[in-house]
């Protein structure tokens, strides 16, 4: 990973005024994880805790994700979101994803060349990644894609916990069989 690239992305994001999230954010939220992650997780948008700290997945959903990393022995991970900023009223809109797509592409260009798996968390991330994959198929050629329900959805609806566990078991099997 190039520190310069991520530093540059962060600087540009801090100056970005492309969508209403520029008014609702306190800090831009770019990346947390290993310098060269083998598995890149892509979520939807920063929440209030992430906005406060400027780091992705450090709120309740992040705790659930970290718990899964421990249970399923995922050591080499990185996490990003499809948008860099806390959205107004904590409500994601597709238009924010469209405005933020150039940043998403830049983040993927930093991490995907060294990664082996890309995991989308939730439908919005999955759709955003499909769109980038359509535009930049070469970025994804070497990757295995996987989808897992978003941890925030599990926290809102505990009935989805079994789907969360099932998604993770399937992913962990895929990763550990190939290693």
């Amino acid at each position: 990973m190039s520190d310069e690239s991520l530093g540059n992305i962060k600087e540009r994001a801090e100056a970005c005024q492309r969508c209403p999230c520029a008014q609702s954010r306190r800090r831009v939220v770019i990346y947390r994880g290993m310098v060269e992650p083998r598995i890149l997780f892509v979520g939807q948008s920063p929440g209030p805790r992430e906005d406060e700290l400027g780091v992705p997945f450090v709120g309740p959903a992040g705790s659930l994700l970290d718990e899964a990393f421990g249970i399923y022995h995922v050591d080499s991970y990185g996490v990003i979101n499809i948008i860099n900023c806390f959205p107004p009223n904590n409500k994601f809109q597709e238009s924010f994803g469209i405005a933020c797509q150039p940043f998403l592409v830049d983040k993927l260009k930093v991490f995907l060349p060294g990664a082996r798996y890309l995991v989308t968390l939730g439908r919005d991330a999955e759709k955003a990644i499909w769109e980038v994959q359509r535009l930049y198929p070469g970025l994804f050629q070497h990757l295995t894609l996987h989808h897992i329900i978003h941890p925030a959805a599990v926290l809102r609806n505990p009935g989805w916990r079994s789907k969360w566990d099932g998604d993770w078991r399937e992913f962990a099997r895929k990763v550990h069989e190939s290693s």
Partner: protein
């Protein structure tokens, strides 16, 4: 960033026999004088001014090597079958079966007795011995399992992290 390196080649060694099932050359029983080396990085030093006190790492490295040293055949646990209450073990290696006393077989929870798997196993063994206060400061750690003085496999125990 500060770093220390401990190179055990020539000074911290173990004599071990192994077999890599299915490999045309290494599938035949053979032996090595193996050793370990480590690199550990931290952003800040401890109260003594160390990245980590060598005396905390070296015994852990020696401990891992002692499990292998002159202990018999080192194999993946899945290749082994207990045959009787006397402790004899059958080691299945493709079409061959070795019938050995149990105390001459080192069964490890690894997929194969390759340098790569042994590096990961040794890294896990060593990591368990590192005190929590050091683990909190360590930003990167790797161990290399040397099968010969110039042929080894490296396992990254802790990867470098970033936040942006």
């Amino acid at each position: 960033m500060r770093a220390v390196e401990i190179d055990g080649r020539g000074v911290m060694e173990a004599a071990m026999a192994h077999v890599v099932a299915g490999h045309p050359r290494c599938g035949v029983l053979h032996g090595h004088t193996v050793s370990l080396s480590m690199r550990i990085e931290a952003d800040k030093l401890d109260s003594m001014g160390f990245v980590i006190d060598f005396t905390k790492v070296k015994p852990a490295m020696k401990g891992a090597l002692a499990i292998l040293d002159h202990q018999g055949l080192v194999v993946a646990g899945a290749m082994c079958e207990a045959v009787d209450t006397e402790g004899r073990i059958l080691v299945h290696n493709e079409d061959e079966v070795y019938d050995l006393p149990g105390d001459e077989v080192v069964m490890l929870p690894i997929p194969a007795a390759t340098a790569e798997a042994l590096a990961a196993w040794a890294g896990t063994q060593i990591w368990k011995q590192i005190p929590d206060e050091d683990l909190e400061r360590i930003t990167y750690a790797e161990v290399t399992f040397w099968e010969t003085p110039n042929t080894g496999a490296t396992f990254v125990i802790r990867e470098r992290r970033a936040e942006y």
